[in-house]
């Protein structure tokens, strides 16, 4: 039984479907990467999983239990973490307070988890008293991921974690994602930097027009000439 499974998911905003039957499955310790052209429904798929838009048909399961159309609040309680692409921090709160908000449901273990996050993202420790809105893009992304990790999720959804970051920070974030998965978390992320992302992916999902076009291991997709030609820019 996969950790997170999506079966023939249809859905969208207000009657207009963007997803027309998407299938996905990831296990614990795995990284799944969703790539595809603009408007393929990549971010929409993540939002559908996290209950931010309605799933009209199909099934989403967490450890076999149906979770489609549960509210984000309920999903967080069940161990799902979501890092939106934009507006993913509390800008006027300090770095430390941002992390504490991630552990809102687990106040007792907040300080222990905070130490873990500081070990995981050392730059955050020295900036812990600064408002998160004053940090650089890469450090904000660390705050955003740290906030989601504070709830000790079993599944982490990342929407374009490297968007707008310099190559140095991009590699750093990918390294961190690998380390997060290694601790037993299933990671599902949408990425524009498709080639680099597929290199660390156990599973890759190429979406187009709201449907799976190719589904394989990251390596197989990278070596597939058809995928390369159509979606990875040659």
């Amino acid at each position: 039984m996969p950790l997170l499974e999506a079966i023939d998911v249809h859905g969208g905003y207000g009657g207009m479907n963007i997803l027309n039957g998407v299938d996905m499955a990831i296990e614990a310790e795995e990284i799944g990467v969703i790539v595809g052209p603009n408007g393929a429904g990549k971010s929409t798929m993540l939002k559908a999983i996290f209950g931010l838009l309605s799933v009209t048909d199909g099934d989403i399961r967490l450890r076999g239990e149906p979770i489609a159309n549960l509210s984000p609040h309920k999903l967080v309680e069940r161990g799902m973490g979501f890092v939106p692409q934009e507006k993913n921090i509390f800008p006027s709160l300090s770095v430390e307070e941002n992390l504490e908000m991630g552990a809102f449901l687990k106040p007792a273990s907040a300080s222990r988890l905070k130490q873990q996050i500081y070990e995981f993202f050392p730059p955050l420790k020295e900036k812990r008293r600064q408002p998160a809105g004053e940090l650089s893009g890469g450090q904000r992304q660390m705050v955003a991921m740290g906030r989601a990790l504070m709830n000790e999720p079993s599944v982490l959804l990342l929407d374009e974690p490297t968007a707008g970051l310099s190559p140095r920070y991009m590699n750093e974030i990918f390294e961190r994602v690998k380390a997060i998965a290694a601790t037993g978390v299933g990671v599902l992320m949408v990425e524009q930097n498709a080639k680099q992302a597929l290199r660390i992916a156990h599973k890759g999902f190429v979406l187009a027009a709201g449907q799976n076009r190719f589904t394989d291991s990251g390596e197989a997709l990278l070596n597939d000439p058809q995928v390369a030609r159509s979606f990875l820019g040659g």
Binding site: F50, F82, I89, L93
Partner: protein
């Protein structure tokens, strides 16, 4: 030196009193705006309602405060705060929450709050009539005269003023500790920053909304009661409070509770300075003035009856030149 004491009594004391009242009202307005994203026009009426509840309780048990040596209204204050908070939460559940679930535009919420204003005013008038009533039922307001050595004129403070200063300081310190130290206070700031992310972090936003009404309702009761205790309870108190508290919240930068406090004092002092008779301060040099320059009896910038123009002017000036307020807040 008598003139300085006069200045102290009529500007420093009076300005601080007005400032405290406006500050506590403006904090409520700013908190409600940051959590619920609409300008809550019924806030001044919530202040009146709080005072009215305390007035009713004081009339029912006029001697409840005697044993403690405090005005009865002060003893009844906590009950009034609880009651007004419950009414505020009830109004939210009955009128604002259905609109929120329909995801209406903020202006619809503003209009709804105007409706609540009229409703509350009607209710208060129905029970309290239209006249002014003292919150000192069967008791007398204590007035402290502090003699300054060598000066004939004393510094005058009334009992409600002293209580107001103490209560305001306690409320500000309490609010600061709550917002920066407690888990729910931080969650409140988080929700103000980014409501979607707050939800995605598992923060119970319904609880935060309830808490916002409780804090705003309690502060409104404190301010309304202490103002009525110092002057008198009037059912149309809100007319004179609504504009200054919004001016204070906007001057301070909407969304910043401490900006609202600064804004409250700024508006309060501006009002007091505008109605202050500057002629008094010039009296000692009257004899040395040339004959053709007679000192007028009244040198106030605006007459007391027009002091409401001051917050109006501040509001318009801020909206034109610095719409985000002193502390870079949101734009209503």
């Amino acid at each position: 030196m008598n003139e300085l004491i006069y200045f102290f009594n009529y500007v420093v004391v009076a300005g601080s009193v007005t400032g405290c009242i406006y500050a506590m009202g403006a904090v409520g307005v700013t908190l409600i705006y940051s959590i619920l994203r609409f300008a809550h026009f019924a806030h001044a009426d919530m202040m009146t309602l709080g005072a009215f509840v305390v007035l009713l309780l004081t009339m029912l048990f006029p001697h409840a405060g005697d044993a403690l040596g405090l005005p009865t209204a002060i003893v009844m204050l906590p009950i009034g705060m609880v009651f007004t908070s419950l009414v505020a939460v009830g109004i939210d559940r009955a009128f604002y929450q259905p609109l929120r679930t329909h995801k209406v535009k903020p202006i619809v919420m503003v209009i709804a709050s105007l409706g609540v204003t009229l409703m509350l005013q009607g209710l208060i008038r129905l029970f309290a009539g239209t006249g002014a009533q003292s919150l000192y039922v069967d008791a007398r307001k204590e007035i402290f005269r502090l003699e300054v050595p060598g000066i004939t004129r004393p510094i005058i403070l009334t009992e409600p003023q002293v209580i107001l200063f103490v209560v305001t300081i306690a409320a500000v310190v309490g609010l600061h500790l709550f917002l920066t130290r407690s888990r729910l206070g931080k969650a409140m700031r988080a929700m103000s920053d980014n409501p979607d992310l707050a939800r995605a972090s598992g923060i119970n936003t319904r609880l935060i909304i309830t808490l916002t009404w409780v804090i705003a309702g309690s502060l409104a009761t404190l301010a309304g009661t202490l103002l009525s205790l110092d002057v008198a309870f009037k059912p149309d108190l809100s007319f004179f409070l609504l504009l200054p508290i919004f001016a204070a919240a906007i001057v301070g930068g909407v969304g910043h509770p401490f900006g609202a406090i600064a804004g409250g004092f700024l508006v309060g002092f501006a009002e007091t300075l505008a109605v202050f008779n500057w002629s008094v301060l010039l009296r000692p040099i009257r004899d040395s003035l040339p004959d053709w320059l007679a000192l007028p009896a009244n040198l106030a910038l605006v007459g007391t009856e027009y002091k409401i123009v001051v917050p109006f002017f501040i509001l318009i000036a801020v909206l034109i030149w610095r719409p985000t307020g002193i502390f870079k807040g949101k734009v209503i």
